[in-house]
């Protein structure tokens, strides 16, 4: 194609493994599905005016079912990512980010970059300090929503997994001060996740626009590209 020409040397490599990319997108789709179905469960925005002639209309039950299906999909993805972070060999670059996490100088430089006054700092791992703490908080919110979600689940489904989780559900209920508060925390954690996701999408787009190294593509193809001598 005519607009293509040699633009210097790029280093390339797999940044995100297939498993990593799958868990990211399963998590992403689940979050959107869970927010939509969750708002319905909180306040059913689709209702019928007339009773069903035959008792085979299960709108709430169906939406709740999808909420549970996506909920367990998200739990799986979150658990996979947690184990990945702590134990997978290829996650060593993620783990190295901890070295920068407490470095105030790097953090201030990162803020400076976003305020357009300083250059992007060189980081030891894949996450800069702001990113690292944002993701750490995201996982606090994830586990918060999972724990409260499983407690709510066990109160509706008393057999099988729900039955096994029942003592755990009662424990969560005692801590929160009743099932109403469990639901409230579930709802608050949802909002916190929405806010993190919103900013995350902006940051990803921002880096794609100004990074000019196909950064956004990495979460689809797994490939990361960086110009020689410009590694962050």
């Amino acid at each position: 194609m005519k607009f293509l020409k040699v633009l210097g040397n790029y280093l390339g490599g797999i940044e995100f493994s297939a498993g990593y990319r799958w868990q990211h997108w399963i998590r992403a789709i689940s979050i959107f599905a869970l927010v939509a179905t969750g708002f319905y469960i909180a306040n059913p925005y689709i209702t019928f005016g007339t009773p069903s002639a035959t008792p085979t209309r299960f709108l709430q039950a169906n939406i709740r079912e999808w909420h549970i299906i996506f909920g367990f999909a998200m739990i799986g993805a979150v658990l996979y990512k947690t184990i990945y972070f702590f134990f997978f060999p290829e996650a060593k670059y993620e783990r190295k980010s901890i070295l920068d996490a407490f470095n105030i100088k790097v953090a201030l430089q990162q803020i400076g970059y976003y305020l357009l006054v300083s250059k992007h700092p060189h980081t030891k791992g894949v996450y800069n300090p702001l990113q690292f703490w944002a993701y750490t908080m995201l996982y606090v919110f994830f586990y918060g929503i999972i724990i409260t979600g499983l407690a709510l689940y066990a109160e509706v489904y008393h057999q099988g997994l729900g039955g096994a989780l029942y003592p755990f559900a009662k424990w969560v209920e005692s801590i929160c001060g009743g099932l109403a508060y469990v639901r409230l925390w579930h709802h608050i954690f949802m909002w916190l996740i929405i806010i993190v996701v919103f900013i995350h999408i902006y940051m990803a787009v921002y880096n794609a626009v100004f990074g000019k190294n196909g950064g956004m593509d990495a979460i689809f193809s797994g490939m990361k590209w960086e110009k020689e001598g410009e590694e962050h």
């Binding site: 306040n43 009773p51 069903s52 008792p55 250059k119 001060g177 009743g178 109403a180 919103f198 100004f210």
Partner: protein, 375 residues
Amino acid sequence: MLDVQKVKQRIAELRKLPGIASKPLSEILEENGFTRRDFLKWSGTMAVALGLPASFAPVVAEAAEVSDRLPVIWLHLAECTGCSESLLRTDAPTIDNLIFNYINLEYHDTIMAAAGWQAEQNFEEAVKKFKGRYILCVEGGVPTKDNGDFLTIGPEAETGLEKVRRTAKDAKAIISVGTCSSFGGIQAAYPNPTGAVGVHKVVNKQVINVPGCPPSDRNIVGTIMYVILFGQLPAVDNFNRPKFAYGLRIHDLCERRGHFDAGEFVEEFGSQEAMNGFCLYKVGCKGPYTFNNCSRERFNQHTSWPVQAGHGCIGCSEPDFWDSMAPYEEPLANHKFESVSADATADKVGITILTIAGVAIAAHAAISAIKNPKE
């Protein structure tokens, strides 16, 4: 497993104790126009309410006959007497009402004949005479702020706090009747000016909570009957509520549950949907968060209950329900936080933060587009 032999043994033990009624229960019932058949019918209902097999009906009958051996002392603290109303004020002198009058109810402010100093004396004597044997039922929360001075009872101006502690010390079993004595109730609602708490917070003994505003007479009588029947406290859940009554949510056994699963909801009171008997979730029913057996036992001799009458459950048997379940006629998604500066729902706070973030992002993106970040 439930052991009929064990229960029979327990009743035999109780039979040996002196009763206070002048004549056996069977005679009293007959004099009041109740046949033996009525009595056994009640016993069967009670056995089922307690989650016992029908074979226990005769045993329940026996337990009721010896129940005058177990004295009950009923304290009124910060409360409205609604729980006593639930227990006593029914449209006809029901058989359970009658039996409750004839169990050894040693002290009960509102329904005892004695008054003034005489009532005080009855109380002191009962506590002394039945030391270690009486069942203590408490109605009402315990104000604890300023040493409990917000509630004083009787001519000596004894605080409720002192009275409940003193009486609980020698009680065989303590039953908190109603949400106030279980969890503090309305006076413990935000901002709780009197520092009201449930009984279990001020005594260091196990307390059985029978919450509800009011709890149904079945749950009160059932719990007392359980203690008499088994000589021990019933199995309880995480908030010390008897499992036989509070094991399932209102929602689990609700007669409108089909409409909930079908997505058929009442949008406003008095609408066509309401007439169709749709689910009351969107007009504030808190059944999904509330553990109680109202949907099975109902109130006033199984006549009706709020959801049947067309208003959602307000969650009155849950701790802290005045705060945690509000607003009562809207779903919990519209719950308001109590805060110093403002009341706002989670959704409003979330949308506000999201809007601020959105504006900030737009500004940041615009500035970045003009003045690119440093490479």
